[in-house]
């Protein structure tokens, strides 16, 4: 394959990865933006989504039906788990930032262990629900990947709509702006936090379901999306949802291109160094003065 088509393929792969990354990072950015906490176990919600997708596909037998069930049921299960975590742990120490980080690191290990026990140490693949290929002049491209990009785009739009146009979104934005005042105006801040934490987890879980026919489900697969989400959320400006999505595309696409032409490790090293540069030259665009 000559350079042009090769580059086109890299761009297409990068774009699909960027959509999935945007979905995952949006969950992390939402949780940070509204609750001012960093969820280190976010990647594990992604992993749980992927593992559940495998489980449903395996139980049901038909790839298409399994996928349909998974994309609805997995986020519900993961969201439920997130609600339980919020109630039983995070709320207990009032979302204190350092404690939250330590506790979510603990959760990361616990979730990994549970998956290891019930699912095992193997990486397992799931058949794509559809398997037509889009034939381009130079190469064929997986139709499923296009579907992934489409679903992710729809969900990004839906999340935007939910935040910008619905009552729940308004309540969330009010809480983000000033949780004490919000409380004083009768907004149930506790419930908003629980909902936001669950929604963040669900977005990651859906991303996990989408990725599993492309990559394999594996109990340690959560680390990469976690780190990439961190990079994206920092570069986009923590708490800024639009920034996170733009950054997801910049990082996702360049990651795709550099991975194809050079090496995946190099691309991640570069992304990490980019974080450093952003921090040095645009500190105000990042955590701002609000993070403490």
């Amino acid at each position: 394959m000559s350079l042009g088509p090769h580059l086109l393929l890299a761009l297409m792969e990068g774009t699909v990865a960027a959509f999935v990354l945007a979905l995952t990072a949006l969950g992390l950015a939402l949780v940070f933006g509204v609750m001012r906490i960093v969820n280190v176990a976010h990647g594990e919600f992604f992993m749980l989504g992927a593992v559940l997708a495998w489980a449903f596909a395996h139980l049901i037998g038909s790839p298409a039906l399994g996928f349909l069930v998974a994309i609805i049921a997995s986020p519900i299960i993961v969201g439920g788990a997130a609600l339980a975590i919020d109630r039983m742990i995070l709320r207990r120490f009032n979302y204190q930032p350092e404690a939250t980080i330590v506790a979510t690191i603990g959760l990361l290990y616990i979730i990994q262990q549970l998956v290891l026990v019930f699912y095992g140490p193997d990486a397992r693949s799931v058949e794509a629900p559809i398997n037509f290929r889009i034939q381009l002049p130079w190469f064929g491209y997986s139709g499923y990947k296009v579907v992934v990009a489409g679903i992710a785009a729809l969900l990004l739009l839906a999340t935007w709509y939910g935040i910008a146009r619905t009552k729940l979104g308004l309540v969330m934005r009010a809480t983000q702006f000033d949780s004490e005042t919000a409380q004083a105006f009768g907004i149930p801040v506790d419930r908003v936090y629980a909902a936001v934490f669950a929604i963040g987890a669900m977005l990651a879980a859906i991303a996990g379901v989408l990725i599993v026919p492309i990559k394999q489900a594996y109990y340690l697969m959560g680390l990469d999306p976690l780190l990439l989400s961190f990079i994206v959320v920092i570069i986009g400006g923590l708490g800024s949802l639009r920034g996170a999505i733009i950054a997801a595309f910049v990082i996702g696409i360049s990651d795709g291109v550099i991975s194809v032409f050079f090496s995946p490790n190099l691309s991640k090293i570069l992304a990490t160094l980019l974080v450093a540069l952003v921090l040095v030259f645009r500190p105000e665009g990042l955590f701002g003065g609000k993070a403490r």
Binding site: V102, I234, T272, V275
Partner: protein, 315 residues
């Protein structure tokens, strides 16, 4: 600090004496365990200077441990440097590296500092894998016995190793003690309590934090260098996020901001993981559960809680 000075010296002296005496009674297996626990506790003490005394939570300290580990291990492997020079080189390399990281990372505070240190550490881990030809990546490099000889003493000999590990740990304890009782230590603790106020007292707090990070990195790196030389192995695992989290775990469990906290935490975790692995093969759940339980019920850790309830003089 007047008054409890005697008790403090007596306590730390007896802990070190106890560790010295233990080598004559411990069975071979635990003898080796204690050697590695003392080295790892030194890493913990380095970490504690930053988190416990300066109030900066880093999630990437494995990069400093690994900096010392690789600086020492690679120079021995490729340049046949003698172990003493390699150790010193490891510590100095980690110091320089920590200072360089600090110049960038300390521009951030709080949560972003945690993420940035974590990202840097991950970049180091990936760089080690990327330069696979030099580092042998995950597989790592085994240092030969011949290369690990200091005069007549071989680092393969358990007794030599044990006592060197003890000496390293004792130096770390002493350094930490001198630091926190010094003028600089007083400023660091004040930064932990309220950085804004320290600025208004006329301090350039960035410089103090940089100093704390450099010292912290140096001690962590010294521990890494010692680990490479004593156990003759250098590998990418030591740079993984997991090793950063271990330091956090030991310090929080033992009690952050206490001198002996790191060794208490390292010792407990080592045997807790050891013991549960025999039963269930599931160290992750132990690590995870301890972290969650600590945040929920013992945010000050074992010695921190003890200090609050009983021993106010504990440093």
């Amino acid at each position: 600090m007047r008054g409890p000075q005697h008790r403090v010296l007596a306590l730390h002296g007896s802990v070190l004496a106890l560790l010295f005496l233990l080598q004559f009674v411990l069975p071979a297996y635990h003898h080796t365990n204690f050697t590695s626990i003392m080295v790892l506790a030194t890493y913990g003490i380095g970490y504690n200077i930053l988190i416990g005394y300066t109030g900066l939570l880093s999630l990437g300290h494995a990069m400093f441990f690994a900096a010392g580990l690789y600086a020492a291990g690679l120079t021995v492997h490729y340049f046949n440097l003698d172990p003493v020079s390699a150790f010193l080189f490891g510590a100095v390399a980690a110091l320089a590296f920590a200072a360089a990281v600090g110049l960038v990372a300390l521009r951030t505070t709080g949560v972003s500092f945690m993420i940035v240190t974590m990202m840097f550490s991950q970049a180091c881990f990936l760089l080690i894998l990327y330069f696979n030809e030099v580092t042998r990546g995950d597989e790592g490099i085994v240092l030969t016995e011949a290369a690990r000889q200091i005069g007549d003493f071989s680092l393969v000999n358990p007794a030599v190793r044990y006592n060197l590990a003890l000496a390293l740990f004792a130096i770390a304890v002493a350094l930490c003690f001198i630091l926190i009782r010094s003028r600089v230590g007083r400023v660091l603790v004040a930064i932990r309590e309220n950085e804004e106020r320290v600025k208004m007292l006329g301090y350039h707090t960035f410089r103090y934090k940089l100093l704390a990070l450099a010292l912290s990195g140096m001690l962590s790196g010294a521990a890494g260098a010692a680990y490479a030389l004593m156990f003759g192995y250098v590998g990418a695992t030591f740079a993984s996020i997991e090793y950063s989290i271990y330091a956090l775990l030991w310090v929080l469990l033992g009690g952050s901001g206490t001198i002996l906290g790191p060794i208490v935490g390292a010792l407990l975790m080592f045997y807790l993981v050891e013991w549960t692995s025999e039963v269930t093969e599931s160290y992750r759940i132990v690590v995870g559960a301890v972290l969650v339980l600590l945040t929920l019920f013992f945010p000050k850790g074992i010695l921190g809680t003890l200090r609050e309830k009983r021993l106010r003089w504990l440093p």
